[in-house]
């Protein structure tokens, strides 16, 4: 069912040479020396629990250690390790700056790399070289409260205008349409990009836009302006209001989970917490709609990836771990603790849980994509953060939507110049 996602946007199913390769399950029994393999990640150990247990079973002669570092500190801590010539063997994420500094191993020639679809490898490929293998995908859409929708005879929207009408109908019956933690840079970025995915990225001629943007050959202000102007209607209609700039992610989650708002944008990672906070909650997720009626798009893509430290103390052992990670068994273990889909060719992607059934056609059509993951040297957090800040300023009434995109282009050029 999910194979379509994997071929989305990239359009290329990758290296066909690996298609017929049977997944290998290397055993550590051939290695009698006890080796420590250190993995550092910004996901909690619990999110990798089943996978780590599987690794420890698979490699009884390896001491598999996992170090969790909070997302806010992760880049600083790992950069310090790497800059000192130290650090764990396997690292979550392949930051463009680490690649530019030569801290990460080029994995392109490793046999396990060809077992993945190119869409999964794209975000960690720079100048044709692959620096990390993808773990399960992530996606984000609009959560909605099924009870509120049923009570007022409402159904998930198929177009952006329908979605705006939905806000009006909910307001008319005294329900707050949408909770939004705009204190974070993420939700507005993703919502506006969601419209761009429908209106701009779905056209075949824009398939290579992100690579070109990464290199500075095209600008966001030229390409995205119509879609962002459409999205801006939501601010004009006061569905998003300046007071939301003071709302945190957790506050918006609470507002939605307690039934005080009918919709909220987030991903599968919020599901358990919401149900824990309000066990009676009936949830659904629909994709972000575009100007034309259609299946909509979810913002998402390869979630995170395993990269290899160039100065890894136990490179051979770490490579065996990466090789084993590239098997359906290991991919299933990753998905078990955090729902997503695998980019491994031939992986058995599980059935879609009920709460995502409204997004089924979007999944089937492969409408899952995150533009910034494919911006090459601009893929780090700096530019996406800048766009978020600009949108926050726009919501506060400071800048026009055109200026938002122009200022983001300006920042992109600054980053490109600084990395020359």
């Amino acid at each position: 069912m999910f194979t379509a996602i994997l071929s989305a946007c990239g359009g290329n199913e990758g290296n066909k040479a690996g298609d017929n390769t049977e997944p290998t399950s290397p055993s550590a029994n051939d290695n009698t020396e006890k080796a420590t393999v250190k993995i550092i990640g910004f996901n909690k150990e619990e999110v990798r629990k089943t996978y780590l247990e599987l690794l420890r079973q698979q490699f009884p002669n390896y001491d598999i250690q996992y170090q969790f570092v909070d997302n806010k500190q992760f880049t600083n801590v790992v950069t310090t390790y790497l800059a000192s010539g130290e650090g764990p063997d396997i690292i979550e994420g392949a930051d463009a700056r680490w690649i530019a500094a030569g801290y990460l191993e080029d994995l392109t020639s490793q046999p396990f790399v060809s077992k993945y679809y190119e869409t999964g490898l794209k975000s960690s490929t720079i100048n044709g070289k692959v620096y990390a293998i993808p773990l399960q995908s992530w996606f984000e859409g609009i959560w909605y409260n099924k009870d509120i929708f049923t009570q007022h005879n409402l159904t998930p929207p198929k177009s952006f205008d329908e979605w705006m009408d939905l806000h009006d109908k909910l307001r008319a019956v005294g329900v707050k349409p949408q909770a939004m933690g705009a204190k974070s840079w993420e939700p507005m970025d993703k919502q506006a990009m969601g419209v761009a995915l429908n209106d701009f990225y779905s056209k075949p001629e824009n398939k290579d836009f992100d690579e070109k943007f990464g290199k500075g050959e095209v600008t966001l202000s030229e390409a995205w302006l119509p879609a962002f102007t459409k999205w801006d209607e939501t601010i004009a209609k006061k569905n998003l209001t300046p007071d939301m700039l003071g709302v945190e992610y957790d506050q918006a989650l609470d507002e939605f989970a307690t039934g005080k708002a009918a919709m909220w944008e987030s991903g599968p990672w919020a599901y358990d917490t919401m149900i824990q906070k309000n066990p009676d909650l009936k949830l659904g997720m629909f994709p972000i709609p575009g100007t034309a009626e259609g299946s909509g798009w979810l913002v998402g893509g390869p979630g995170s990836a395993w990269a290899l430290n160039k100065n890894a103390k136990n490179k051979d052992a770490a490579l065996k771990v990466l090789d084993f990670t590239s098997t359906p068994e290991a991919q299933a273990a990753l998905i078990k603790d955090s729902f997503g889909t695998s980019f491994l060719k031939g992986a058995d992607n599980s059935e879609l849980p009920e709460q995502y059934s409204d997004s089924k056609s979007a999944f089937d059509e492969g409408n899952v994509y995150a533009p910034w993951a494919n911006w090459g040297m601009l893929s780090g957090a700096d530019l996406i953060l800048e766009l978020g800040k600009q949108l926050q300023d726009h919501l506060a009434g400071g800048t026009s939507i055109e200026e938002v995109l122009k200022n983001t282009d300006k920042k992109a050029q600054e980053i490109r110049d600084s990395m020359k």
Partner: protein, 278 residues
């Protein structure tokens, strides 16, 4: 009567303001504590109500999830060793700087003071390399050494300035009675420094106990971690379950709170000592 009336009115307004301020201060602590006894859904739906059913399982879960005895002992060892180290070296250095004001000593003192102005982040990578070359990565000693050397500048400054108020005649008398330099310091000067030592001990304890970044960077294995690292490991990446998080916070700050309550009388006695000094 008029004076009394106006006094009472002002007094009432001030007291009312203080009560409002006190409530403002107490509400977050009240919220923190009562949330630890609620279920997740109850905490979300009725954040300020008293729990309908008092649950203690939050503390039991936090204790288990954090492996509290282990992280507590790690924290205690690191904090006590660091604070004792800082106090010993800083007071010895301050003694020398205060009592032997040679040109070289004065220069050295100002050189050490520069340490106060250098942000820790600037020195992170060289420091990491140094600790790695010493073979102390993932060793509590690394964190202890770093605390001692980052805190020592400010401590020397404070203790030296306090020492200037201690009459030198007492030390001269001890010297006449046959006391050596070390004897004079440990028997005469150090006891007189107790108020300032209590103050810097509290400040240093707060800093070292609550530090997150240094242990995060240098203590990589979970067995050697401290309380705050465990709190961060157990909170969500995308959403925080407050009923699980708050008991961890309470368990984390409780020892420090007890220490502060016990030690704060020394600060007050230190202030009083200074105030009545003839």
């Amino acid at each position: 009567m008029k004076t009394l009336d106006s006094y009472k009115k002002t007094d009432f307004i001030l007291e009312a303001l203080l009560v409002i301020l006190a409530i403002g201060m107490v509400i977050p602590i009240y919220y923190l504590l009562i949330t630890t006894f609620k279920s997740s859904s109850e905490a979300t739906l009725h954040p300020l109500w008293l729990p309908a059913d008092w649950k203690f399982s939050g503390y039991a879960d936090a204790w288990k999830a954090m492996n509290y005895p282990r992280v507590f002992l790690n924290n205690l060892f690191i904090t006590v060793s660091s604070v004792l180290g800082v106090l010993l070296f800083a007071s010895l250095a301050a003694y020398s700087f205060a009592r032997r004001q040679t040109r070289l000593n004065n220069l050295t003192f100002y050189f050490i003071l520069i340490g106060v102005t250098i942000p820790f982040q600037v020195a992170t990578i060289p420091l990491f390399r140094l600790i790695r070359n010493l073979g102390l990565i993932d060793n509590p000693l690394s964190v202890i050494f770093i605390y001692i050397f980052t805190l020592i500048s400010f401590n020397i400054f404070l203790i030296k300035n306090f020492m200037n108020t201690v009459p030198i005649e007492l030390e001269e008398s001890a010297s006449i009675d046959g006391c050596g330099v070390a004897g004079t310091f440990f028997r005469i000067t150090l006891p007189l420094l107790l108020p300032v030592i209590a103050t810097v001990a509290i400040l240093n304890t707060l800093t070292t106990w609550n530090d997150f970044f240094t242990p995060l960077l240098f203590l990589q294995s979970r067995e050697k971690g401290v309380i705050l690292l465990e709190v961060y490991r157990n909170i969500g990446k995308f959403a925080v379950d407050w009923t699980a998080f708050f008991p961890m916070m309470v368990l984390g700050i409780a020892p420090l709170l007890l220490f502060y309550v016990f030690m704060q009388r020394f600060i007050i006695s230190g202030i009083v000592t200074g105030a009545v000094k003839g």
